[in-house]
Point group: C2
């Protein structure tokens, strides 16, 4: 047996970042460079098959931009919300995706449409892996990735390897910070996500407005033709010192600080990398406050872990997903 040509290992691979709001796809070269990319909104209607069709369309578009057929890719990795079974390619409990609270064979179905093998993983776990290997987490042996966006997700690298536990480790968003506190969108009370998840923050803002509270948040939303409060809308309102936006962001920061400190007391990692839509958007302004805020909750406040903003920005998702097939 000989090796002819470049071989499969050096072929470009695809990366898919499947989120509740958008689908981002890219073709990634041997040196982790983005050769082509495309993105589109995640379907709000329909079900898993529609989402898979949208992923395939977006991936084809990215491949066209990179001048390659999807069937010629060395494989496609998908980072998806919920419980990803790598062995079977089944994605379960992806509550942020339409009609996906059950299980669906995402890997096999997408593979049929693209003509190449597909490997799936949890979105924040692959995002954490990308930050560890190529981003702000480089050089650390242990790492907590915190993805502050629509929800609050997380991933763990322990001893240089992803720690998945029974498949679902890293759920820093479901760390309790206040027993009997705010009810999260999944019903759990007083968790980090119930205070800091973008969806929960928006729900709270809507309740406050219904009670007569003034804010520019929803005016900005309408002006931009959006249906929900995006990270950039929160950032704009915060810069304009909108009272409600600042208050809800403060609450989010406090919850993130407390939850991260609890996690650090338990797993004692060297570094915490904060990413996600809000994390990256508020990287310079609020992430330092999240770091300061951990002090009162740390067992050893004079020995905090390093805290850094995700270095790969929006690309972390697709780069980490692509690592699943490398």
């Amino acid at each position: 047996m000989g090796i002819f040509g470049k071989g499969r290992d050096s072929a470009p691979v695809g990366g898919v970042d499947l989120g509740g709001t958008k689908i981002a796809t890219a073709v990634i070269g041997e040196g982790n460079e983005v050769l082509g990319s495309a993105r589109r909104p995640t379907p709000k209607q329909g079900g898993p098959a529609d989402v898979v069709a949208a992923i395939a369309e977006s991936m084809s578009e990215a491949a066209t931009a990179a001048g390659i057929a999807t069937a010629a890719l060395g494989g496609v990795g998908v980072g998806a919300p919920g419980m990803a079974d790598r062995a079977t390619g089944t994605l379960s409990g992806a509550g942020n995706l339409p009609d996906w609270s059950g299980s669906f064979p995402l890997g096999p179905e997408l593979s049929k449409l693209l003509g190449t093998r597909v490997v799936i993983g949890n979105d924040v776990q692959v995002g954490t892996m990308a930050e560890y290997a190529q981003g702000a987490g480089r050089g650390f042996d242990s790492l907590l990735g915190v993805f502050w966006g629509t929800g609050v997700g997380g991933g763990l690298i322990l001893g240089g390897k992803p720690w998945l536990g029974r498949g679902r480790a890293g759920e820093i968003g479901h760390t309790l910070v206040k027993r009997g506190g705010a009810k999260g969108l999944n019903g759990l009370r007083g968790t980090v996500e119930a205070y800091a998840g973008r969806k929960a923050m928006e729900a709270r803002a809507r309740r406050e407005v219904a009670k007569g509270r003034k804010t520019i948040l929803f005016k900005l939303m309408e002006k931009r033709g959006k249906e929900s409060l995006t990270s950039s809308i929160w950032h704009r309102a915060w810069k304009k010192e909108d009272d409600l936006a600042c208050e809800l962001l403060d609450r989010a920061v406090t919850a993130l600080s407390a939850g991260i400190a609890s996690a650090v007391n338990l797993i004692d990692v060297e570094a915490v990398v904060v990413g996600g839509g809000l994390g990256v958007r508020f990287g310079d302004s609020l992430v330092p406050k999240i770091f300061e805020g951990t002090g009162p909750y740390l067992l050893e406040p004079d020995r905090p872990p390093v805290m850094a903003v995700a270095g790969l920005g929006d690309d972390g998702g697709v780069l980490g997903a692509a690592m699943l097939v490398r």
Copy 2:
């Protein structure tokens, strides 16, 4: 080079469980059997040197019971509270020991007194290791050990190996359960330990009594000639349905449930083993309630980890410590 006789590896070793209340020592044979043991109260006065002297005396007594000189032991392992630096033998920040908030070369000093090598480790980390290798945690790949006693400590086994992080991982007692909640003895607020640690529970009971609350807790304490509320006193009062004891134990159970659930959401371990003085004492009665209580806080309540009571009881500490030198 040949091997003559039994060799050093098969020599009995010593195990020391250094706690805030008592020092337990044992000589452990090749098959993990206890060949001799001794225990004494931890000195309340003096400083580190007095504690080391007390350990040496107790270890000598155990060795005498086993019919061996301490210098003939294959080594002595010490499980100690606080931050144990295995490489240097220095123990730091052991706030439960007299005048030990700083650092002291426990390993080297004890080695001089015993005439054999000494390896130190964190008490709950070695206790977790013992449960994993020989106790209720056998057969699991990942494990959270929760030691519910004077304080609330914990240890982690992940992927079949102890996970120490930067040296201090496993501190489930310092997981937050209620932001702005009860103040713990170390100043941290709203942690598991602030509700469930035996010292914190006693402090709370004293405050309630000062406010005129009735309880048999302190009468039992005087009757038994104790200076503090031991696990057995709590158990006796609970069996007699003492109102205050039941209330404070309920609070402790709720905090333990919430903290353990948060930890499980983060690290997704296969099993949780509950030990420690109170944990073992209330193993049949309250540990099942701790397990039930995790439900409302678990991200996946229909997929809880196994929860078991520590199988080695009081011996876990010395057995785990002995493993440090094996």
